[in-house]
């Protein structure tokens, strides 16, 4: 049903259409604070669109609420700024009804793992085809420094002046256990790696999830220094001998202390919800041999006379 290959085919009037330029794909100037990690994700998204030469009209960007969720305004393409926590559900509706599009959903840790936690689990489990990038900054930024579901214990916020008390969510473990078929981890300070992950996510036929560390310089500066070589930290790729189809190994990687490893932790092929529903449709329609809807409904009505 959904096949990313269709996106890469040049449009019918390719003769007169030039590859999309960065200028053409750029919209409003981001409202983010200077130094925000989200800038990096945005510029890599532009790069991805250019690299894959996705026709302008087929770029579909969905986001919820939060700093990172302002994303669609900054992309000159079809975009949706939905409500808090429900972007995945909205994007699922787009993906399931429009298999010709590749849907990108962007959001933050509050959107994904707190208010939208239920949708994250079920979208992963159902393997609905789309790419979901969570820009994880371990803090609520838009509302100015409250504890987030990924804030580490002890993080001092306006809602936990004495330091966060609750065990944070581990997004990678959550994604693997929920049944996501593509689970990767990257960081805004390594744009090359970020692009690699987004490229691989887009190629994946299913729900592809990327946790991208994205520093909030305003409310949690230095949160990710230990993963940034330029700040004296270490950026370690997933070991070469890691088998991404091995769920237990992926879980072990996800259980490491920060900064841990970066790369594709887990990737398996299993049928997408899109394909399964398409199968149901095909089976149901095969009995009607292309008859018009009125005939199909008439057949039903004839049985309830």
């Amino acid at each position: 049903m959904s096949d990313s290959a269709t996106l890469e085919q040049p449009p019918q009037d390719a003769g007169e259409r030039q590859p999309v330029t960065k200028k053409e794909i750029t919209a409003d100037h981001p409202t983010w604070c200077p130094g925000c990690g989200d800038f990096s994700v945005l510029s890599i998204y532009y790069k991805l669109i250019q690299k894959r030469n996705i026709p302008h009209e087929n770029v579909t960007t969905v986001a919820g609420i939060g700093c990172s969720s302002r994303f669609p305004y900054f992309v000159q393409a079809h975009g949706v700024h939905y409500i808090h926590g429900r972007a995945l559900s909205f994007a699922s509706g787009v993906s399931l009804s429009r298999p010709d599009l590749h849907v990108f959903t962007f959001g933050g840790d509050g959107d994904a793992f707190s208010i939208g936690g239920n949708h994250f689990v079920h979208t992963a489990r159902k393997n609905i085809k789309m790419t979901y990038v969570v820009m994880d900054n371990f803090v609520y930024g838009l509302t100015k420094k409250q504890t987030s579901p990924t804030s580490p214990i002890g993080f001092k916020s306006k809602t936990d002046g004495w330091g966060a008390l609750d065990k944070p969510i581990n997004p990678m473990k959550l994604a693997i256990s929920a049944g996501a078929s593509f689970v990767a981890r990257t960081t805004h300070t390594n744009p090359k790696h970020l692009l690699e992950m987004m490229d691989a996510a887009m190629d994946h036929d299913g729900f592809s999830f990327i946790e991208c560390l994205s520093e909030c310089t305003e409310f949690y500066a230095g949160a990710f220094d230990s993963s940034n070589p330029r700040k004296g930290g270490e950026f370690n790729l997933v070991p070469e001998d890691h088998d991404p189809t091995d769920e237990a190994a992926a879980y072990a990687l996800a259980s490491e202390d920060f900064p841990g490893h970066f790369g594709i932790f887990y990737q398996v092929q299993r049928p997408t919800k899109n394909a399964l529903e398409a199968g149901v449709i095909e089976a149901a329609q095969s009995k009607f041999e292309g008859k018009p809807s009125s005939d199909v409904l008439q057949a039903t009505f004839n049985r309830i006379k």
Binding site: P55, Q76, A77, H81, A91, S97, H119, S294
Partner: protein, 607 residues
């Protein structure tokens, strides 16, 4: 042969069937007895017999083992309501007898299963009792292994005999119903039916024959209100939906899940109500008009997302099968108390469209109208139904599907430029362009819940907010001008106008007929388009001295219910008063009559 009622004809004589114009039969048993399938057979039979039929059923809140009743009213004229009192009661158990004997009309007939029921002395003198060992006779007819199965079909045979129903058609229906389950099941069912039909009881049995209907109604379809909504949505071109199970909405999602794939569509069962409405809006954004729906608490949960669809101007159909509230409330009982949440639910000023279906047939056409309005105005449209019509089976004239059915083609034709929130038109309409649409000037739309400028980019500017609020409101004003004026039943001016909405239509109509016969001068009007109210409705109210709004919801702190509140706010007319009922049961015709008389007396005293 003169036409009479069952009680008049109930004289114990058995020689010739008495001709009757209508009959209300109530069957009371347990839910596992298949009580409701008897109703289904009778409804189908009536649909095929050129007689109008309306049935009422109550579903038990327990899955199995709970009490279950089904009431069917068969009439040869226009059947408007399920009937207040039963002419014939079939009681399968002692509790069925004890709980329902009070619902029997004067002169009614009580048929009971003498294996389970011990009649009460008090009632024996009041009603004609016919004891039949339904359980053991069924076992005798179909073999000892069937236990309680088949009693319903046996009872159907009894009813077929009692009312001289067309056995050939009934047998064909039984055959159709069970043929999928194998020959032996069909044979067992036929045996049970025949045994019931041939039951010999000397002169215990009265025989009746329903007079033929006045007008020929050859092509009728028979379905419940929930089925009618489901098929209406399909006919209108809906190919995507999402929902979460909740009573009494679930039937619709089950139907759409099963049926939509035949039309190339999907219905997705989601993890919760919020995901459901969100997924539906996502599909609407994708260029399909999608549906979600729920009942009770589920509607509350969807409120934020519906507000987004108002703000972002996305088409969406929300089906609300109302049940008793607030909170978990009365999950399997009827109430019309969701009007306010449908019209106003959610924060901020968020105009949306609200339609209410009045009977099963109307469910079909209201669903279609909702889809068309949602598409044209890019707005969420609520369809309000309620428990009373959701599960009720009615026969209605077969819709002309060739002209009605639509497939909505995905329109991705390129446009030179597009503003999703274009202010230039004045009527508020701007229209949605789905992703995949190439916009030649390179300016692509963002659809958003933030207040926005014409291209969808955030704007907190005061002048812009005023203009956009007006745009969203103007869409409804434009629609209000296009809406038909509600029809008035009775004189178009006079002393009293009774106003109703939703499932009260039939009882209200009958109440007006009866009160008119008693010499009262009054009229009734049924409002289908509640938000916005039709523009021309304004001219009607001043023609009446009193306006009573009859609703199944609370009269509230100030003495008028939800529609009355809306109409008082709209027309600033203090003559608008409420007649309300919160018993979680449908209005009976007799209750409406009593309440109207009482109200008129109060007004006379006051004057």
């Amino acid at each position: 042969m003169s036409e009479t009622t069952v009680s008049e004809a109930n004289n114990g004589s058995n020689s010739q069937p008495s001709s009757i114009s209508e009959v209300t039969i109530r069957l009371a048993g347990n839910s596992q007895d298949g009580i409701q399938s008897i109703g289904g057979f009778l409804a189908r039979l009536a649909g095929r017999s050129e007689r109008e039929v309306m049935t009422m059923m109550t579903i038990p809140s327990t899955i199995s083992g709970g009490a279950s009743i089904f009431q069917v009213r068969l009439g040869s004229g226009e059947v408007l309501s399920p009937g207040d009192k039963a002419d014939v009661l079939f009681a399968f158990y002692q509790h069925s007898y004890d709980n329902h004997v009070k619902n029997l009309a004067k002169g009614g007939i009580l048929v009971y299963d003498s294996d389970h029921v011990e009649p009460d002395e008090e009632w024996l003198t009041k009603y004609r009792h016919i004891g039949i060992a339904i359980s053991s006779l069924t076992v005798e007819a179909i073999g000892g292994t069937a236990r309680d199965k088949g009693k319903n079909i046996y009872a159907l045979g009894l009813i077929g005999r009692m009312f001289s129903l067309n056995t050939e058609k009934l047998e064909r229906l039984i055959n159709e119903r069970f043929s999928g389950k194998g020959e032996s099941v069909v044979k067992t069912a036929m045996d049970a039916f025949q045994a019931g039909y041939r039951y010999q009881s000397g002169d215990l049995f009265n025989l009746f024959r329903l007079a033929r209907g006045g007008d020929e109604r050859s092509n009728q379809v028979v379905m419940s209100g929930n089925e009618a909504i489901g098929y209406g949505l399909i006919a209108a071109g809906v190919r995507f939906g999402a929902g979460y199970p909740i009573t009494p909405w679930s039937d619709i999602m089950e139907l759409l899940r099963r049926e939509l794939p035949k039309y190339g569509g999907s219905f997705i069962q989601c993890e919760d109500e919020i995901a459901s409405v969100s997924m539906a809006i996502g599909a609407s954004y994708g260029g399909r008009v999608a549906v979600t729906g729920s009942s009770g608490p589920g509607i509350s949960l969807k409120a934020e997302a519906v507000g987004w669809a108002v703000m972002a101007e996305m088409p969406l159909v929300v089906i609300d099968i109302q049940r008793g509230g607030p909170s978990t409330g009365l999950p399997t009982d009827v109430e019309q108390s969701d009007l306010n949440i449908a019209c106003y639910g959610g924060h901020g000023d968020s105009p949306r469209v609200v339609l209410a279906a009045s009977d099963v047939e109307d469910c079909f056409y209201t669903a279609i109208e909702a889809v068309n309005i949602a598409r044209k105005y890019s707005v969420p449209v609520f369809v309000l139904s309620d428990q009373a019509i959701a599960t009720r089976i009615e026969a209605f004239n077969e819709p002309d599907l060739k002209t009605i059915c639509k497939d909505i083609e995905l329109d991705l034709s390129p446009v030179s430029s597009h503003k999703p929130y274009d202010l230039s038109s004045g009527d508020g309409l701007s229209g949605h362009r789905a992703p995949g649409t190439r916009i030649e000037d390179g300016r692509y739309p963002v659809v958003t819940g933030l207040e926005h400028d014409e291209s969808g980019h955030p704007s907190g500017d005061a002048v812009n907010h005023i203009a956009m609020t007006k745009k969203r409101r103007n869409k409804l004003k434009t629609l209000a001008d296009e809406l038909p004026t509600p029809e008035i039943c009775g004189p178009d001016s006079g002393d009293v106008l009774l106003v109703g909405w939703g499932s009260t239509k039939g009882p209200l109509h009958e109440a007006v007929d009866q009160l008119t016969k008693e010499g009262y001068t009054l009229s009734s009007m049924h409002i289908k388009h509640i938000n916005p109210l039709p523009t021309r409705l304004e001219d009607i109210l001043p023609r009446f001295k009193s306006v009573f709004i009859v609703e199944m919801n609370d009269g509230g702190v100030y003495g008028y219910g939800q529609l009355a509140g809306i109409m008082r706010a709209r027309y600033a007319d203090a003559r608008i008063k409420g007649i309300n009922k919160t018993a979680a049961r449908r209005w009976k015709v007799s209750e409406i009559i009593e309440r109207v008389k009482a109200r008129l007396e109060e007004e006379t005293v006051a004057a």
